[in-house]
Amino acid sequence: MEHIRTTKVEQVKLLDRFSTSNKSLTGTLYLTATHLLFIDSSRRETWILHHHIAAVEKLPLTTSGCPLVIQCKNFRIVHFVVPRERDCHDVYNSLLQLSRTAKYEELYAFSYNPKQNESEQVKGWQLIDLAEEYKRMGVPNDYWQLSDANRDYKICETYPRDLYVPRTASKPIIVGSSKFRSKGRFPVLSYYHKDKKAAICRCSQPLSGFSARCLEDEHMLQAISKANPSNRYMYVMDTRPKLNAMANRAAGKGYENEDNYSNIRFQFVGIENIHVMRSSLQKLLEVSGTKGLSVNDFLSGLESSGWLRHIKAVLDAAVFLVKAIAVESASVLVHCSDGWDRTSQVCSLGALLLDSYYRTIKGFMVLIEKDWISFGHKFSDRCCQLDGDPKEISPVFTQFLESVWNLMEQFPQAFEYNEAFLLQIHEHVHSCQFGNFLGNCQKEREELKLKEKTYSLWPFLLDEQKKYQNPLYSPDFSPELTLLEPNTVSFNFKFWRNMYHQFDRSMHPRQSVYDLIMNMSEQNKQLEKDIKELEAKIKQKNGQPDAVLMKEHQQSAHPAPMALKTPPCFKKEQPLIPVNDAVRTIEGSNTADNRYSEFMEEFSKAEPAVVSLEYGVARMTC
């Protein structure tokens, strides 16, 4: 790679992010075509994908060398000190080049080769089939049909080819409506609730300005309303704050006038735009990255960042949507400005609350494919996959994942997947290692021939499913809870430590309950399997013509399996116990993790004026 000026730098220090006395690990830094690799003296490796790098910063020279700070999109922050300034400069420049990609074809996904053959690759891409998904929801049916209007992306470039619309919406209505909607994103079906016959539809804002009308668009909404026999009115949710929507009117856009559309109930829900979200996250990260943070600074920072307020707004909107469908059986049309950010958040969360299928591992993949990928959430722009406009970057998808995490906290038994699954998806949305999230819309993806040139993420996640299973999940723990009713009182929202401090190990609980339960249940499954096998063996034996043996067994029908069961159980348990032990090992008692050694050093100095007792934990000055 022509960008790499130096491939190896020795004696590089990796500073501990939260240590106040600059504790560090010394090791060697390697630059490869795809990754930055740091191997410390105890052979521990830190891999950082170039695409994950959000920013590289060179700080002023210090006595120990030249500091280089790398911020990643997965919220990892590493702080290197390179002994020689020239090396640092080379690494810095290389990383700048490597982390900024100009063309899709240079992204990692196009060179990533996971040793799959072609048919596996094709099969991988076929794993999620949206036509199948709509069939599962119950469309096409008497009210909804598949429209071929956008077959060639002629009506809307950012929509998928296959769109579901009310049967009564003819092609001219579709075309007319799309002309009246920003970016041609006319109202289409996102989720169909079979029992209530109510639909979640999505679109972009109407080009209404101060007074413009469009009969076709009005017909379109009427058609959606009529497609729901159980309720004669429908909701139109504008997910923007009212002020923003009104400002849009001056630019010839805006929102639906209730007087022009029959039987609609219009509602603003007030989720802020991508720019507000971007700076909110920025503030959050600034606060959480502060060294020696006090509780009060943390809480006031959390408050002033507004981040949790935004998450609450998103979930509140989804709850509103779900109420309309579940309680009133009314269809809902959701839009924001362009209908690919807030609209995706609200539609997908609404569906997640309504339908337990989306709370399974496969279902969640389907949900992301449907409401995010196919409907054109601009992953490339929002996650800055290519070097582009920094104003287009926004953590919209991250907020969606965080909302799901909050739901998982409230309903620990309702989700088949766990937090690690969300984190892994977040990782790969930014990694550009798989083709799923590349590009901004389906048309672009087809042009890039992603299905031939890259691999799909989902089969890989399914392969390692075990890692992502929630041990507490019980799909039928309460049938009445297919509908989740989250409580969105403020104090139910918590800071997502595992997302924003995923790589700061010392901050997390030192023992994982989930791992333990997972191991236990694995063990149990194995034992149950053993029991079955042995029972089968007994049956076989009983079936043998040896009359004496048969008699013996019949006499002791019950105790026999017990006696037989014991020895293999012990055999099986032996390899499993170390696994358990590994889980139970306490990271916290490891002195390195507690940042203890520096305290020892400090202390061994004769009579220091300032004694700093520190283990990432307690600090004192006297």
Partner: protein, 508 residues
């Protein structure tokens, strides 16, 4: 009548929102909130019975417990024997048997073997309330000790006391260094000299290094707790208001400060191998918070159900934490009492934080902490009555009331408090005290209950149960267990028996 009064007492507190699990045993707890004024006045009067002897534990006689049971489970003698098995440097002294040397110490204390009772008596005169330095914990790994006392009475004239210096001097060998952790700020300690108190000057205690770690107590801590409860009870708060009220109540800061200070003490003992003396002013509040917490962190023995009870007995009850004054009214009271302060609750909160971070290392679950909290404020049992051993003797608490421990340790009862994931962990548990790692021990979900977005009986029942319990886990399995009792029967984990109490009534 007094018995009835106490039952009213229990009922009122329940009405005020502090769910008492076993309160209102005569079915009189269903008070309407808008009871006529005279009844309310009566309740006010009855719920603040002044005389300890008139309190409910003196009248409570459960059938399946004997009176004397549980009162002598944790004799200091037994604790001392463990130390004596390892070193002969300490002895058990009964110089305080008539409570004259120190009215707030128990009869027996563990002191350096080389120091005579006479010296101790003189040293006691130099410490506020006579609380001379005594052993709180012996760290078997390296033989260092944790001591506690009250502030020295140096006063404005920088008085000295050779006996006190000798007493502290004998703890350390030649050339050894120790730490004095003063739970006040340096300035507050200095100011205390004006009122006759003060702190150990370096010149008189050359081997001891003083560290100041201010911890809140008294009135400000009580205010903090009241504000927290108020914020939690207001479900209409916007996110910004909620966060700013959570911040301004400062409760989590106090949790962090208490944990850090305990970690500091533990670190000095375990890693620095230096002995530690902890004191604040009176030595009955923050001092005990730090010494008790440090022991939970260091000593695996304190993390078992029985060990934890022993710790409470030794470090809170016998050590003279004035429960009667500190835990009178909780957060709900019109008469804001001067002496009220939730130090014991702060301790339980810190232990809960440890249990979140080390979910397999504590033998007991959250339910034990909740039960202890309830009982510290209003109890059928005499364990938390009075302010110190002297008062307990005068009131004949041990003769006339039942012990909480006797009740808790009945096999059927004890089962409810066990942590099913517990496995003995011989290591020191160092918690993270970053603000991101400290969680709010969520309770007070009462109002949330009424404002469910669209409530279903099931959700309501579950939440009601949380409300009923008062303090509930947020996050992790604790929450799963409370929210979903069915977890117990999860087919995935048939071996898992969660600490649920199926007999608890679920209010509708």
């Amino acid at each position: 009548m007094p018995a009835l009064a106490c039952s009213w007492d229990v009922a009122t507190r329940r009405e005020q929102g502090w769910g008492l699990q076993r309160g209102g045993r005569w079915g009189r707890s269903q008070l309407s909130p808008c009871a006529p004024a005279p009844i309310f006045a009566l309740l006010q009067a009855l719920s603040s019975v002044d005389s300890v002897m008139m309190m409910y534990p003196f009248f409570y006689r459960p059938q399946d417990l004997r009176l004397e049971e549980g009162w002598h489970l944790f004799p200091l003698e037994q604790y001392f024997q463990q130390i004596a098995a390892q070193t002969s440097q300490w002895r058990l002294s009964d110089l305080n048997r008539d409570f004259t040397t120190c009215p707030t110490y128990p009869a027996d204390v563990i002191v350096p073997a080389a120091v005579s009772d006479d010296t101790l008596r003189r040293a006691a005169r130099f410490r506020q309330g006579g609380r001379f330095p005594v052993l709180s914990y012996y760290h078997p790994r390296n033989g260092t000790v944790l001591l506690r006392s009250s502030q020295p009475l140096t006063g404005p004239n920088r008085k000295r006391c050779p006996e006190d210096e000798v007493l502290l001097g004998t703890v350390l060998d030649e050339g050894e260094r120790g730490f004095i952790i003063d739970t006040r700020s340096a300035q507050a300690a200095k100011q205390a000299r004006m009122t006759g108190g003060g702190t150990e000057p370096k010149s008189s205690y050359p081997q001891w290094k003083r560290l100041h770690r201010p911890l809140e107590r008294g009135r400000p801590l009580q205010e903090s707790f009241i504000k927290l409860v108020e914020a939690c009870n207001d479900a209409s708060l916007s996110m910004d208001r909620w966060l700013s009220r959570l911040e301004s109540c400062r409760w989590l800061s106090h949790v962090k400060a208490a944990l850090s200070t305990a970690c500091l003490a533990a670190q000095c003992l375990d890693r620095e191998e230096a002995s530690v003396l902890v004191h604040g002013a009176e030595g009955t509040d923050t001092t005990l918070l730090v010494t008790a917490l440090a022991q939970v962190i260091l000593d695996p023995g304190c993390r078992t159900v029985v060990g934890f009870q022993g710790l409470l007995e030794r470090e809170w009850i016998e050590a003279g934490h004035p429960f009667h004054l500190r835990c009178a009214r909780s957060a709900y009271s019109h008469a804001r009492l001067k002496q009220e302060a939730p130090l014991f609750l702060l301790f339980l909160d810190c232990v809960w934080q440890l249990s979140r971070q080390f979910p397999f290392s504590l033998e007991f679950g959250e339910s034990l902490l909740l039960t202890l909290f309830d009982n510290a404020y209003a109890s059928d049992y005499g364990t938390f009555l009075c302010n110190n051993e002297k008062e307990r003797c005068l009131c004949k608490v041990k003769e006339n009331t039942h012990s909480l421990w006797a009740w808790l340790n009945q096999p059927e009862e004890k089962k409810k408090y066990l942590n099913p994931l517990y496995s003995h962990n011989p290591l020191v548990i160092w918690p993270s005290v970053e603000p991101q790692s400290i969680q709010l021990w969520q309770g007070e979900l009462g109002p949330a209950l009424r404002q469910l977005p669209f409530s279903k009986p099931k959700a309501r029942a579950v939440l009601a149960r949380r409300h009923h319990l008062g303090w509930v886990a947020c996050g992790g399995l604790g929450k799963a267990a409370l929210l979903f009792p069915q977890v117990t029967h999860n087919p995935l984990s048939p071996r898992l028996i969660l600490p649920m109490d199926p007999s608890l009534p679920v209010p509708r």
